[in-house]
């Protein structure tokens, strides 16, 4: 073993500049925050948004590069950039919709925003990870922050309960994930993704230890993306957590989880894809079906959206099962559209929770179209996109994924998927029914007073429509990102051959 020499480490600070920015941002927000009273945390929020913006700008710089840094623990490629940017934007929107919410409920602003930033950092780490340990640490950073965020509305017992459940099950599944990492380490002798990819040749591909590790990691990721049967936490946590955090979980956490999931399985475990596609096939079918079935009978919109999120995880898993470059791109694109759609929907939910009182019952949405036509329209559009009605983002995403799956010959799975999306139409549309075709419901605090929230909604909806109506650039971005990841995977493999 050579003595420690910094030569051995290829320092590339620039690629991790976004990460560094966010880390520092979290600390800055914390330090500034301790002087700010909980009622005036808006300023803090704007500061957060600004810093996120800066990070996003840095992230743009990573597009087009390929390679690894820090002895292969950080992957430098458009894939990372793509996810970092999307995650940062999603976080921005989350903060946007949090501004009034946090202040109104006198939630500790400093901790709130810095934890959001820490979570974002964890997510980005998962996206840029070059080895399993970074993925693990990123996951933990994200999770720990989100555990806390979910419980930050401390006066609300449901919030703390959600946080507890999330924490327990999260830690529980961390055990499985870690076990999986350990076994893969045992089988391949490394935890660096590139070498693992390189090692997957010959009889290694059927090494039982590898397969077991693979399975256990599948379980671990399955938990994070809320795949049935590892989904039980989702509805409870989504319901209990403060709504902006719910949005953050539904979007950010899912983005990050899939970022890692894809990076590990679709990119670096691709050679052994035969060993996991069918498991994912089953998971996908189960996830879609259960998610939609239960969503069908929900009365609380946050819970309903939680199950819908599960269902969408199912659609994404269809793509995973398809396991190919096209599938990867499809998933990346789908996640983009999905992110904005869900952010929009949750933003409307936040808006309806108004000052103080919550109103997550779908029945409270009755007659919304009369009182707040634009709000209603926004929610309706988001729901339609979730249903997969053209020309909104949701439709193109589904189309892309089904395309990929059929390309791999998964006709049965695709048929299950489309039947599911018919089923999903039922509950999405019944919300629209409440909004447009029924009377009653609750009065909403006037939106004019909450520009940030309006901005969040408008941004999401416009983005959603745009991504759907003219998908070309985004599809390109997605496929470039994924291919660069593949390329990087190969590059790393090559560069680290003994």
């Amino acid at each position: 073993m050579t003595p420690l020499s910094l030569k051995a480490i290829n320092f590339l600070w620039l690629p991790i500049l976004p990460l560094i920015t966010i880390a520092l941002a979290a600390i800055v927000v914390l330090l500034v925050g301790v002087r700010v009273d909980d009622e005036e945390s808006e300023g803090l929020g704007w500061l957060t948004i600004a810093l996120l913006g800066v990070a996003a700008v840095f992230a743009l710089g990573m597009i087009g590069q390929t390679g690894v840094a820090f002895a292969g623990s950080i992957a430098i490629d458009s894939y990372s950039a793509y996810f970092e940017i999307v995650i940062l934007i999603a976080t921005m929107v989350t903060v946007l919709m949090s501004l009034d919410y946090v202040a109104e409920r006198r939630i500790a602003g400093a901790e709130y925003y810095s934890l959001v930033l820490f979570a974002a950092l964890g997510m980005m780490l998962m996206a840029t990870a070059g080895d399993l340990i970074i993925i693990f640490l990123g996951l933990e950073t994200m999770s720990l922050s989100v555990y806390v965020l979910a419980g930050l509305a401390r006066q609300d017992p449901r919030s703390t309960e959600a946080s507890l459940k999330y924490f327990l099950l999260g830690a529980f599944s961390t055990g499985f994930l870690l076990y999986g990492i350990a076994l893969i380490y045992g089988a391949t002798g490394t935890i660096s993704l590139g070498p693992i990819h390189a090692a997957l040749t010959g009889d290694m591909m059927s090494n039982p230890l590898l397969l077991l590790g693979l399975g256990l990691m599948l379980i671990g990721f399955g938990f994070k993306v809320a795949a049935v049967p590892f989904h039980m936490w989702t509805p409870d946590v989504y319901e209990g957590a403060p709504t902006p955090i719910t949005a953050f979980m539904a979007v950010g956490v899912k983005l990050a989880a899939f970022a890692g999931f894809l990076r590990v399985f679709l990119v670096n475990l691709a050679p052994v894809s035969a060993e996991w596609t069918w498991a994912l096939w089953a998971l996908a079918a189960l996830t879609m079906t259960v998610g939609n079935l239960v969503a069908l009978v929900q009365t609380n919109i946050k819970r309903m959206l939680a199950y819908s999120a599960i269902a969408h995880a199912g659609y994404l898993l269809v793509g995973m099962a398809a396991a190919g470059p096209q599938a990867g791109s499809a998933i990346l694109y789908y996640l983009l559209g999905y992110a904005f759609t869900n952010l929009g929907a949750f933003a409307v939910v936040v808006a309806l929770e108004g000052r103080g009182e919550t109103s997550d019952m779908i029945s409270n949405y009755r007659g919304l179209a009369r009182r707040e036509p634009w709000l209603a329209a926004a929610l309706a559009l988001c729901l339609l996109s979730l249903t997969g009605v053209p020309p909104l983002a949701g439709f193109v995403g589904k189309f892309y994924i089904f395309n990929a799956a059929l390309n791999q010959g998964f006709v049965g799975l695709v048929i299950i998927a489309v039947l599911n999306s018919v089923m999903s139409a039922y509950y999405y549309f019944s919300v629209i029914v409440a909004i447009y075709m029924e009377e009653g419901g609750v009065q909403v605090a006037h939106m004019g007073a909450r520009p940030a929230l309006v901005a969040a909604i408008a941004l999401s909806v416009v983005a959603m429509i745009l991504i759907g109506v003219y998908p070309e650039p985004y599809i390109n971005a997605a496929s470039n990102a994924f291919h660069s990841a593949l390329g990087a995977g190969v590059v790393r493999a090559a560069s680290l051959q003994p």
């Binding site: 179209a369 339609l384 009605v389 053209p390 020309p391 439709f395 193109v396 189309f399 089904f402 395309n403 059929l406 390309n407 006709v411 695709v414 048929i415 489309v418 039947l419 999306s421 018919v422 139409a425 039922y426 549309f429 019944s430 629209i432 029914v433 447009y436 075709m437 003219y470 998908p471 070309e472 599809i475 390109n476 496929s479």
Partner: protein, 533 residues
């Protein structure tokens, strides 16, 4: 030819819809909506005039890249098959807007006009799309506004009806989406690239099983939309609960989307399977004809009755389509228009009655002729057109359909003609119960006759009925070339199948002479020859 016409046609209504969102005052909303529906109407008439009746292919074509990665392009085209449905759409939309403005829709006029115009965009888009993806997009788009129209301005179990409508249609169409993607992927081997362009996909060679399944998926989607028995049960509910304008558009145009789909996609894409399926579909069509008529006969609710009559009429259309010969198909297209006009007219009339009496129960009426003679007279004409009285539009279509079907499958026609009888039976019976006899309910003595506005709504309908009854040539001549081109594919397939059959015969027995072509081959061949000259 002037490019951008079709785009303008499609998106003018959308423009109008957006424009309407900025209006506040109801009058202004109705007027601007009507005006914005007149623009596409005028445009479509221009297209009708400028249409080259000697050309079978697409005209006024526009094509731009949309999603090159998937070979998806924004490809529009107009041919003799879509031309008239476009006309029908624009006409009926204008009429229903004109009608709805007259007091039928009191609340939330802005949203109403918005949805109607968006719906028009969807319909026109679906009719003009030559790219499968584009078609599917519009196909789904037109679903949503109709859902809102039924759900918001409907009556009775409106929400049940709306959801049922959406789920039924989506169920079919989403499977079609799978089929579309599959087809495109299968085409890639042949074309060397992904492409959703219909003309290209026409030449994709498929294994028979593939073709079967794909055809099934397409057919299911369209059959639900048509609707063919036994997939029709969404229709009575939707039609009955929808607001008048909704029923008019639904019956007048939307159902045609199904039949149009068969003509444009299901059959030309998979001609062999279509030929195999002829007996099945003709059987279903005939069942639909008789079943629809019989069930309509015993409906206590006027709108429901008309709805079931649609099932019967669309049965005729399907019969003509699957005749797969010029007479049948042209008759079918013609019958689509007729049904659009006559059934649209009937729904308008029922709506007018409903506006006055707030009931559609037949038993609530009787002896209306005395109190509303003009209404009764118009109703009489529309009814006669709907039962296909010679001299009115209905007859031309029905006769051509029967002729075409007769050339293809005599037995089917033998049963189908009973539809003529039953049609007369239930329609006249209804008319008798509503218009004839003494006035039983006092309220019916005082209801007022049609307002000038309503007469203005009905006048074009009647005019069309007479014109199309006595001078169908300008229409038929325009659809002829396109129909022939469409059928050419079928005849080719027919010939191929016959030769295969002959070879199988040859393989089985040495006696070659004992394997004549099937009669279809003969007459289709002769007809093609005749058509070519």
């Amino acid at each position: 030819m002037a490019a951008g016409l079709l785009t303008a046609l499609i998106f003018l209504p959308l423009l109008g819809a957006i424009f309407i969102l900025l209006q506040r005052e109801p009058r202004a909303i109705w007027n601007s909506a009507f005006v914005f529906s007149l623009l596409p109407l005028a445009l479509s008439f221009y297209l009708f005039a400028a249409f080259d009746p000697h050309q079978g292919g697409y005209q006024f074509v526009e094509q731009y890249n949309w999603i090159p990665d998937f070979g998806i392009s924004y490809h529009l085209g107009l041919d003799g098959i879509s031309l008239f449905l476009v006309l029908l759409t624009t006409i009926l939309i204008s009429l229903s807007l004109l009608y709805s403005g007259g007091g039928d829709i009191e609340e939330r006029p802005r949203e109403f006009c918005f949805f109607v115009l968006v719906l028009e965009t969807g319909l026109l888009g679906a009719l003009l799309a030559v790219d499968l993806f584009l078609f599917y997009a519009f196909w789904e788009v037109m679903l949503i506004p109709m859902y809102f129209m039924i759900g918001i301005w409907g009556h009775g179990r409106k929400i049940y009806a709306a959801i049922k409508f959406v789920l039924f249609t989506m169920f079919g169409s989403i499977l079609m989406l799978v089929a579309i993607i599959y087809l495109v992927l299968a085409a890639r081997e042949h074309l060397g690239r992904l492409s959703f362009d219909l003309p290209l996909l026409y030449q994709v060679p498929l294994t028979h099983t593939e073709a079967r399944w794909l055809f099934a998926a397409f057919a299911l989607a369209f059959a639900i939309k048509v609707p063919m028995w036994p997939l029709h049960t969404w229709l009575p509910d939707a039609h009955t609960e929808a607001p008048t304008a909704g029923s008019v558009i639904l019956a007048g145009v939307m159902l045609k989307m199904g039949t149009y789909g068969f003509l444009r996609f299901a059959i030309p894409l998979f001609p062999e399977v279509a030929l195999d399926a002829v007996p099945l579909f003709m059987a279903l069509a005939v069942v639909g004809i008789i079943y629809g008529a019989l069930v309509a006969m015993v409906q206590p609710d006027l709108k429901r009755l008309v709805a079931y009559s649609s099932v019967s009429h669309l049965g005729f259309v399907m019969l003509g389509i699957f005749a797969l010969d010029p007479q049948g198909v042209e008759g079918a297209i013609y019958q689509m228009l007729n049904h659009g006009i006559s059934t649209g007219g009937l729904f308008l009339l029922v709506g007018m009655l409903y506006m006055r009496r707030h009931t559609r129960e037949i038993s609530e009426f009787g002896g209306l002729w005395k109190s509303v003679p003009v209404y009764a007279g118009i109703f009489m004409v529309v009814m006669l057109s709907s039962i296909g009285l010679p001299g009115l539009n209905g007859f031309v279509g029905e006769f051509l359909i029967l002729l075409g079907a007769f050339l293809r499958l005599k037995l089917a026609v033998v049963f189908a003609v009973s539809g003529l009888i039953l049609g007369a039976l239930y329609m006249l019976w209804t008319y008798e119960r509503v218009m004839f006899g003494p006035i039983t309910k006092a309220v019916n003595e005082t209801i007022r006759d049609l307002t000038p506005r309503e007469v203005a709504v009905m006048a074009p309908v009647l005019a069309l009925m007479l014109f199309m009854g006595f001078y169908p040539k300008p229409l038929l001549s325009r659809m002829e070339p396109s129909v022939i081109t469409m059928l050419a594919r079928v005849h080719v397939a027919q010939a191929r199948m016959d030769s295969e059959w002959r070879h199988s015969q040859l393989a089985r027995t040495t006696d070659v002479t004992a394997s004549p072509a099937t009669p279809h081959a003969l007459d289709s061949a002769t007809r093609v020859a005749a058509a070519d000259k």
